[in-house]
Symmetry: C2
Subunit: 217 residues, 2 copies
């Protein structure tokens, strides 16, 4: 609540080209602000203050608020966005387990969970934030994985696999429904992997109930 | 935006026992207020105004804010909360498809989707709202379905099935990731049903990859 030091008169334009590391400081301050206040209520002015820079510099680097949010989301999702290549290496039969283990693993540690949670909260609350999240996750996570699949409707199936993992994270870490919230991660991975395997390989795993059970009852 | 008629002076205590339908009007006003402003920012005073009653009557019927939220959530989830019994009737092999069809169906119509969305937004943003949502869904939705399953870890498996459906609804209707957002509902049901069937029957559907692929690579 302490008032930050303010320059008098109009912002010094010279300050816009401020020293090394200011871009990184802005992104770090933006992550904290978006996490703490959500997309709607986050303020560029507060982010600039947090980074120790002039608001004009924030605009100079990032333009409008959603571009700054995109940079913050990208930094928050960095552990996940770098994953597809490594996950796609190795035997295809193991992909479902590698994906499940990796993705649920990110949510197990508070260090990697909190930034994800903040992003999900903003995306659920605000349509602009949802669009930023969607475009980033589509291009950097879903598309590479879908391209690595050898199934019809690969894109849709990759998204259904992702939907399952997102739902587990949500019920376990946000809604905290029991016994899921306290379940052993190893058990979870063992239970979720075959469901993902079904999506990623189009092996119709369990008995195909769809055609049979659609008879009029 | 029109100002409702106000009584002068302190609220008339006699008004606390107000006429028929006031409870229902309060719940309807609460649903609108929670949907529009989220749990955190929803105001009891605005809800009372919306229902055309004294704030004291709101407190008289519902006590603290989270109890009013619970009533609003229960009303919003009514289409889902009444479902378990009907879904559990019929052949167990068809349960996965009935659940998938029913749950994804609720999200297809804006009339039933919007109240659900509002509840999910509040639950994701606020821990008290999450707890209310969790307790209601656990007791009224998860538990009856788990009790109808003949598998080990029935409760956990019912929750994993729910997690999958929630994740699909989230990516399709909130994040709106393509092609999932525009996919034909019939195709979605066909793709998701076998994954749910795996959870609900413990039939290890696809090839069991878990044990094999955990060899050091």
């Amino acid at each position: 609540m302490t008032e930050p030091p303010r320059r008098r008169g109009r912002p010094a334009r010279a300050g816009v080209a401020e020293g090394p590391g200011s871009r990184e400081r802005i992104v770090a301050a933006a992550r904290a602000e978006f996490a703490g206040r959500g997309y709607d209520r986050a303020s560029i002015r507060a982010i600039a203050r947090g980074a120790g820079v002039d608001p004009a510099l924030v605009h100079h680097y990032f333009g409008p608020k959603e571009r700054l949010f995109a940079a913050a989301v990208e930094a928050s999702l960095a552990p996940a966005l770098g994953a597809p290549e490594a996950l796609l290496e190795g035997a295809p039969e193991g992909l479902a387990e590698r994906l499940t283990r990796f993705f649920l693993g990110i949510w197990e540690s508070p260090v990697t969970r909190e930034p994800l949670l903040a992003v999900v909260r903003s995306a659920v609350a605000n349509e602009t934030a949802a669009a930023v999240f969607r475009d980033l996750v589509s291009a950097r996570l879903m598309l590479p994985i879908a391209n690595g699949l050898d199934v019809p409707d690969a894109r849709l199936r990759a998204e259904l696999a992702a939907a399952h993992l997102v739902g587990v994270a949500l019920l376990r870490h946000v809604i905290k429904v029991e016994p899921l919230a306290s379940a052993d991660p190893t058990q979870l991975i063992a239970l979720v992997t075959p469901a993902l395997h079904h999506h990623l390989t189009a092996a119709d795993g369990a008995q195909p109930t769809t055609s049979e059970s659609s008879q009029p009852g």
